[in-house]
Amino acid sequence: MIRGFRAWLNSMQAHMIGFALGVIVVITALSISLITIAGPPQRSPMTIYDLSRVIRGLEPARTGLAQEFTRTKASHAREPASEVERQLSGFLARELKVPAADVRLYLGNRAPSHLAYVARQAALYAQDGGSSPIVQGTLIAAVRQADGTWNLYVRRSKAGFENYWQLLRASPWLGFLIVVPLSMWFSTLIARPVRAFAAAASQAGDGRREFPVPVEGPTEIRVAARALNEMQARIRDFVRERTALVGAIAHDLRTPLNNLRFRIAGAPDEVRIPAEADIRQLELLINSTLDYVESDGRILTIDPIDLGSLLESIVDDSRAQGQVAFTAAAPVRIEGDILLLRRLFANLIGNALKYASTVTVALAATPTEAIVEIRDDGPGIPPADLARAFDPFFRGERSRSRTTGGIGLGLAIVRSVAETHGGTVTLENLPAGGLLARVALPLRHAPANEVTAE
């Protein structure tokens, strides 16, 4: 139950709900604070009549108004500064029924637009004989007493920004400015595991190597990663089973073929010689099949290997088949299985010599990798075949003939050995013609991870 809830909390659904709630909170908080900071005057509107009742100590029409005022005394009260204040002072005097000279009313600082409104109101009231317009915000009323001092009735109010409505109207846009980067950050956060998953998944599934997808991130991704890893393990088992089957068949062909050879040993030459050629062909097929099956397995022994001398010795041994040259920038030592690596490079160099007259083998190294480049001046590989050149049993048009063609496992073995060593091999046609085979092998052997289905 708790586990299930935890899993849900980690899900994308929960993340999305959380994010939506977060956005609502942010926008609301923004609006509330805008209103608080820049809102309309806090104090409520009141009529001049109500003000007169407050001054006279009577309960005004709206209860609680009296508490908004503080009373002080002053020896002096200045003349109102503006026409509006003078008019309002007149109205208040009329409501208080005292001489206009004894009453002064001041308004606090407020927006000119608001003052203009109050002025218009006052002018209309004055014109029509009314005397109780509505005022709001800061009010300071001064009434002269018999002893010549002034009683002050003061209500202070925070004045609104001039254009607070405009500010409120702008608040959604302000929210937009906050929410957009927030949601970009959040979507990146959500998308990162999805992208990592996609990257891992796109490598998986060819059955040759396993690319365990890390089980991390939101619950949905974890579930998908687990399913993908299990699928990879199934594909791996399937491929291994099939490879083992092919190997078993090839292997079992050897014994009858062996007997055949011995049985025809005494046959007349016109039967024996072509039959032996056929048997040799079959033997080649079986051998490369078994080489492939074996190269697919794990590495038997890991030794430090002087790669330069390995390449040089293969090149030396290949000289009978064509013109081969070897160059090395510096000695390079790697860790690997010498028998498998010898097969890898012998296959590539032999392959190049089959189709080209001149082959060069160059060895270089980066801090982490050994790079071997094998260039030939042959016809290259048709672009359409390049992608499939490493597939087992794939033979391009050029190698269908019996004289040049193997059975399409040479390059499959090359790739398999390179990958077993944690390396890569690529083929490309050179612009000037010919083929470039490039092998990159890590200098230090790191065993490949096995998929662990969690």
Partner: protein, 239 residues
């Protein structure tokens, strides 16, 4: 052919009757006396009763496998062992030779090749007194030459590869250490079919070997003896 010697006795150990029949028929036709066994038990029985020169041994046998039997046969210094197996990978070959087989032939074997190997093993046991080269390493000055894997290992364990010619040449040297070898002797000692290529380039091969053995005896492992040939100066032991 081998007219001066009486027909040698060969024992074919294979659990597949068709293989036994085919190989026996061929070898009988080549004037060998052939005995047949289907497993290790039968092999031992025949070895008790007959003076067998060479055992042709399959790998996959019921009960004890061919590698185990090869190790057992290695204790008999008078019997040559050739493994004839459907397991033909490099790894199997190495295992077989390390188990003590004198030679390892993958199936399908060419009858003539088998005959050639049988004769080579016969020569080794009949004529020359040296034990077979296979199955162990030559060590000198911290270095070792592994004739099965055909690799040279320096004192730090780094594998240094040799071309076929270089390998044959070094094998000739380490089998005859501290002796002056003329170019002709070296040619003769170097086994293998590549001898023509080897012949042309013998001095080149020596200089390449010297480069690969640069750290051995401070680069002085192979000395030139003026007008006579070459000498491998290091002390060689077999391990």
């Amino acid at each position: 052919m081998n007219l001066q010697a009486p027909p040698a006795k060969i024992l074919v150990v294979d659990d597949d009757p068709s293989v036994r029949a085919a190989v026996a028929e061929y070898l009988s036709g080549q004037d060998y006396t052939v005995f047949l066994a289907e497993d290790g038990e039968a092999m031992r029985r025949i070895l008790r009763d007959h003076d067998i020169a060479i055992v042709l041994l399959d790998v996959m046998l019921p009960g004890e496998d061919g590698f185990t039997l090869a190790r057992e046969l290695r204790r008999r210094p008078d019997i040559g062992v050739i493994m004839l197996s459907a397991r033909g990978s490099e790894g199997d070959r190495v295992t077989g030779l390390e188990a003590g087989a004198d030679d390892y032939l993958p199936k399908p074997a060419s009858p003539r090749e088998l005959l050639a190997r049988v004769r080579a093993v016969q020569r080794r046991y009949g004529g020359r007194a040296d034990p077979p080269a296979a199955g162990f390493c030559f060590t000198f000055d911290g270095w070792s030459l592994d004739p099965v894997r055909r690799v040279l290992r320096d004192p730090q364990g780094l594998l240094i590869s040799l071309s076929e010619g270089e390998f044959e040449l070094l094998l000739a040297f380490v089998e005859n250490p501290q002796a002056v070898l003329s170019r002709d002797q070296l040619l003769e000692l170097a086994r293998g079919q590549e001898s023509e290529a080897f012949d042309r380039a013998i001095d080149v091969q020596v200089s390449r070997l010297r480069r690969k053995l640069a750290g051995c005896l401070e680069g002085d492992a192979i000395r030139t003896v003026r007008g006579e040939g070459y000498l491998f100066a290091a002390e060689v032991s077999r391990a």
